[in-house]
């Protein structure tokens, strides 16, 4: 067994360490290496992909529920709009800002901003409705300087530039991954037509075969938006989302 004891220092070692510690302190006292950002008056420059408050574009939303399904904190609930479509609402009390919803959105309706300094007065306010997610929240900007952290070899230093950082970055719109719903096991289809009822884009159609007394469902790959609603709802679990 190995025992850990106090290191063996001679008197000269101790004096050297004391002198080094005091010397470092004196050096830092005169020429400090300060890495503090004076936050309300200065802002650290964040990357464009910073995971801040999310904005929502209802025009691009295909009501696919993917954001709600993927949310690990169960913060996104879909609410029915007057138009009959379902749009996401976000509970900031639960949200962990993992941005899985932004990554998973097939239509690119959710986008990220660099706004991270948001305060809510009550728990009820933290539950943001769809309307509140469209416009960025009002923030009072006091900052005039942007701070960049520069790492050269070992030391970290700050580079200050007189400019106001744009908090809503102008990133190219996400195209999403084009997906299409495909039936993998036609023999098992019971023609319950749930997919037909739930499809918003009218991609599912049914063909009645009078002679064989069967109904065949077919999915039009051109019309399918790849929202995956039919995949979720299929009673026989025979639909899959595949890349277009």
């Amino acid at each position: 067994m190995k025992k850990v004891g106090t290191p063996d220092y001679t008197v000269s070692d101790k004096l050297k360490t004391h002198a080094a510690a005091l010397g470092t302190a004196a050096k830092e006292m005169i020429l400090p290496l300060n890495i503090t950002t004076h936050y309300p008056r200065e802002r650290k420059r964040q990357p464009d992909c910073f995971r801040g408050i999310m904005l929502f574009d209802p025009e691009r939303c295909i009501s696919c529920f993917q954001c709600s399904f993927v949310c690990p904190a169960n913060a996104i609930w879909m609410k029915e709009a007057p138009s009959g479509r379902y749009y996401p609402t976000l509970d900031h009390g639960k949200c962990i800002y993992c941005h899985f919803c932004v990554d998973t959105c097939p239509g690119g309706a959710l986008r990220t901003t660099k706004i991270h300094d948001v305060a809510f007065k009550t728990m009820e306010e933290m539950f943001t409705t769809t309307e509140e997610m469209v416009e960025p929240p009002t923030i009072i900007r006091e900052d005039e300087t942007v701070v960049d952290y520069v790492i050269d070899k070992e030391d970290l230093s700050l580079k200050r530039t007189k400019e106001v950082d744009e908090l809503i970055p102008d990133v190219p719109e996400s195209k999403g991954v084009p997906m299409v719903s495909v039936c993998v096991d036609r023999g098992s289809c019971i023609a319950c037509k749930i997919c037909d009822q739930i499809c918003e884009s009218g991609a599912v159609s049914s063909v009645k075969d009078e002679a064989a007394m069967t109904v065949k469902m077919s999915i039009d790959a051109e019309k399918c938006t790849g929202c995956g609603l039919c995949v979720k709802e299929c009673s026989m679990q025979i639909l899959r989302l595949v890349r277009k």
Binding site: A21, A25, E28, M29, P32, N34, T36
Partner: protein
């Protein structure tokens, strides 16, 4: 009766501090049209046959009163209490890559932070715990000023040939040691009257530390008394500055200076010997129950003691007020050098907290009863040898 008053006035008026600059300012003021007239009228204004304004100014400029009240006495102590914690926070912040106080008066780098703090303490309610001994609980932080302020009577900020000591006594150093040794009693009283378990632990630690540092501390001063052959502060300063800085105590007996320095850090419970207060585990130890203005008083207790001890160290080891003479300032020149030396010493003392972590109680006792005591005894022997040689 009238003879007595006249005698008192002549004593006061015949022993002023020598500041030539004041006369230059006075003559300049007389030349200004309206202001000069007012100044001349005020100085000639007499009540019952006495020039009352002249007597008041003379009283303030009377040597003992000037030294005791202004520099380096109460006024300087008060200024230090306001400036020193700010400087400490600022400099320790710089050492640790932080900014320190800044938000209050940002243009002056937060320099009035302590005023804001004291305002907060003033407005806060003073809560007296149910189990505390109310009488002593409220009394001790105020009584603590007694042993802190009395040593200022014997501190000599002058240089060779010009002793500037309010009270000359052949036993000045011994009286100061006695008063300083009296200070921990008040801290123990504070801890005892709080009747709190953390305060109790802090008090016991304070008692342990008290014996660990007090003996080397007294012996290191004894070494200097042996070296100078006198314990009268006026003579100590005269002997220390006979030729130049190589006659300072720190050069003649560096070991005693080191022991005094470490004992000062221990006595004021500052890092690395912040054992009785130990913020992280005891939450300010003996002072845990204090709030409001009583806490403000308890908070500055350590700084008061620090100032007195640093002033004594400046006097004994750093040659008092000796330094390049600033023209037109006369005696004030010595006082300024004394305060500057004390301030530098204070900054070194308070900024140790940015460098060292805290020792355990047993380690600190080991240092106090071991190395420190041995060093102090060696310093006495060195003083005896040096006294024989010189």
């Amino acid at each position: 009766m009238i003879d007595m008053i006249n005698g008192l006035i002549s004593t006061i008026m015949n022993n002023p501090v020598n500041i030539p600059l004041l006369y230059v300012v006075y003559e300049f003021l007389l030349k200004i049209p309206v202001l000069g007239g007012i100044v001349a009228f005020l100085l000639d204004f007499s009540l019952l046959g006495y020039p009352i304004v002249r007597i008041i100014i003379g009283f303030i400029l009377w040597k003992p009163i000037f030294i005791l009240l202004l520099v380096p006495g109460f006024a300087t102590l008060g200024t230090m209490l306001l400036v020193l914690p700010w400087l400490e926070r600022k400099l320790v912040g710089r050492m640790q890559w932080r900014v320190g106080p800044r938000e209050i008066a940002p243009r002056t780098r937060g320099s009035i932070q302590l005023l804001a703090d004291s305002l907060r303490f003033l407005c806060q309610e003073v809560i007296i715990p149910k189990d505390a001994h109310k009488f002593y609980f409220l009394q001790f932080p105020f009584l603590y000023f007694l042993p802190v302020l009395l040593p200022l009577l014997f501190i000599n900020p002058g240089a060779a040939g010009t002793p500037l000591v309010p009270l000359e006594s052949p036993y000045a150093l011994q009286i100061m040691i006695g008063l300083i040794s009296f200070m921990p009693v008040f801290i123990m009283g504070v801890g005892w009257s709080s009747n709190n378990r953390f305060a109790f632990i802090g008090t016991v630690r304070e008692a342990f530390m008290y014996f660990a540092y007090e003996i080397p501390f007294i012996i290191s001063i004894l070494a200097m008394i042996v070296l100078y052959g006198t314990s009268d502060t006026a003579e100590v300063i005269s002997l220390a500055n006979q030729s130049s800085w190589w006659n300072w105590g720190i050069v003649l007996n560096p070991l005693a200076a080191l022991v005094f320095f470490i004992a000062t850090v221990m006595a004021t419970a500052r890092l690395p010997f912040e054992i009785p207060e130990a913020d992280q585990e005891l939450a300010f130890g003996p002072f845990i129950e204090y709030s409001g203005i009583a806490f403000g008083l308890a908070y500055v207790m350590a700084y008061e003691k620090l100032y007195v001890l640093a002033a004594i160290m400046t006097m004994l080891f750093l040659g008092g007020g000796s330094g390049p003479v600033i023209p037109y300032l006369g005696d004030l020149s010595y006082l300024i050098w004394f305060v500057v030396k004390t301030l530098v010493l204070l900054l070194v003392l308070v900024n140790l907290r940015g460098v060292y972590p805290r020792y355990r109680l047993d380690q600190a006792l080991n240092i106090g009863w071991g190395a420190l005591l041995i060093f102090a005894l060696v310093a006495v022997v060195w003083s005896l040898v040096l006294g024989g040689v010189l």
